[in-house]
Symmetry: C2
């Protein structure tokens, strides 16, 4: 099954509107989910809309309202997100942070109680496309999937962070996390009865394993391995702590409150290069570095070195030209929600 | 050989003064090198003073002067460091950034042309001890030790970064880098004829190896593996790009200028928690998280989970009590410089 790229956002928007989400939020969430599919990050594209529709139905994702500004000191702010949709809320925070960076050169916003955010690369892209340098860090204090280094009990979420900045042809979009793999990838592997190629999880005793079941069904549960794995997972541990500190301790809401509602905390930071050495100097240095990566002699002659964001730009061009293909199991769930909400399905191009 | 902790800084200070370094810089560099030994980061403690003395003698580390303020917009600034000693220069930048954060809640300084910096944990500790949240990222555009993910030609330096914040008994000091191991560790292994326990390097064809010689003597040279290694080194790649961008592109000096002089670029950022949700809320959340780590059931019952900074605090207490032991090969080089500069050696406690 294949759907035209331009048809994805209106379809997702219609679903979210029918589920009762405010119009501005439905438009932003739908646009960013479609962009995420376009960028090739398929676990967090329209595949997520069914989850969001279920959360809206349950009332655990807020349908209406605005974040409360808990504190605003100009270059810094704290918001309470009231479990509003994370894509809309974080895009809104980036816009405000960009405007503050226009005044101060740097700005940061810490958000408590967002709902799930989705693809951070799609969010920093918006800022990078307009010339800003943007950082997003995200954790969910209600979730525990990753143990501290040397430990056996899951404590952290995978804690994604993204860093985006302008590039000559498309932005550089670094989007990674403190664990080797993610919750959604593990669920997908488990649902399909697949094992990981590498031992990227730990069982409850801390023994490395390729089996996604240790996270999904084992009792006691295992955990996702930290970036760096058994021999240098202290590096991922440092990242996990840094991201939880930025997103939870600064916002004043976190694991100490033992929240049980699925959500997310966010730290958004924006820099303006013309408050530093200037946009031209920034472009000269960053472009030189990107090209030095792309021209680096590859280990495998058929796999040239790519800069983060290069593949995403290719995916997006392909999606615009050829549409986006959906796996049958993913589309089946989306179609069931479309039927339930009486939203017509987009044309199948395949 | 063992030296009283309190004797280390005066000894190093005397050496640096005799080598012609300004008094304020000699005092700061010596104090921070001694602290680095105290924290247990031995490759970057007094072991580095011989390298700095040689650089001062050659004139490649500046002995006098101050950084030029290239731009200053309040919350952000760019400095030219004129190859002044990195420990002094970066500590000075942290002090200025803390003062700016007192006004704006957040502040960042990008520094071009520092000389070598040393232990970043020792530097963020100074800010964290006074209640700030501090980040330092560092790269050297004249150095190439780490290839981009999938590539074979060294392009990046290991690109260390540190993140420090206050803790109940001692600060949390996260100090890591974009490669698995470091240049100094590789040199030490090679000098001692040792192999790494894990394949943390790549030869010139990109094949993993435990042999430090590929970085030190092989032709063509190999490289240090990115954090994440063969199966997930794209994570270290993202960190390497982010750190070079913050420290080089923002300062407007970097690899595009093809510098050949050993030095370092720095990005310093300071946050004040009371401009966010407040110092009490910050402490509540971060302390909860640190304790949840320490109480986590360990994989190996004799290796409890430690928060970054815990071991450093123990090392420092031990150093203050028992002094600091030096390996014979390290001390021999220091003693040779002391003889040359007619500086009396500290008392050997051993």
């Amino acid at each position: 099954l294949r759907v035209a790229y331009h048809a994805l956002a209106p379809f997702a928007q219609a679903l979210l509107l029918r589920a009762g989400l405010d119009a501005d939020k439905a438009a932003a969430v739908a646009r960013l989910l479609a962009l995420t599919d376009g960028l090739g990050r398929r676990t967090h594209g329209l595949a997520m809309v069914t989850t969001y529709l279920a959360e809206l139905e349950k009332g655990t994702m807020a349908k209406t309202g605005a974040p409360t500004v808990v504190k605003d000191t100009g270059a810094t702010a704290v918001w309470d997100g009231h479990y509003l949709p994370g894509l809309w809320l974080t895009e809104h925070a980036i816009e405000v942070a960009c405007a503050r960076a226009d005044t101060f050169g740097i700005a940061a916003i810490a958000i408590a109680r967002s709902h799930h955010i989705g693809c951070l690369a799609a969010l920093v892209k918006g800022a990078a496309d307009r010339g800003y340098v943007a950082l997003i860090a995200n954790s969910d204090p209600s979730g525990a999937r990753v143990a501290p280094y040397g430990g056996t009990r899951a404590l952290f979420t995978p804690n994604p962070f993204a860093f985006g900045y302008p590039g000559a042809e498309h932005p550089v979009l670094i989007d990674t996390c403190a664990s080797i793999t993610t919750t959604s990838m593990t669920r997908r592997k488990h649902a399909r009865g697949e094992q990981f190629d590498h031992p990227w999880l730990l069982d409850a005793q801390g023994t490395p394993t390729t089996d996604p079941a240790v996270l999904e069904h084992a009792t006691p549960r295992g955990s996702l391995q930290l970036t760096g794995g058994v021999d240098h997972g202290h590096k991922g541990f440092g990242l996990a702590l840094m991201i939880e500190t930025l997103s939870q301790a600064l916002s004043g809401h976190g694991r100490a409150d033992a929240p049980t509602r699925w959500g997310g905390n966010v730290y958004v930071q924006v820099l303006r290069s013309d408050f530093f050495a200037g946009a031209d100097a920034f472009a000269q240095q960053s472009e030189f570095l990107s090209n030095a990566c792309r021209e680096n002699p590859p280990i495998h002659s058929d796999a040239p070195v790519r800069v983060p964001g290069d593949a995403a730009a290719q995916h997006l061009a392909h999606a615009r030209r050829e549409g986006v293909a959906f796996d049958a199991d993913v589309w089946e769930k989306i179609a069931a929600w479309a039927a339930k909400l009486a939203v017509p399905l987009p044309v199948n191009l395949a």
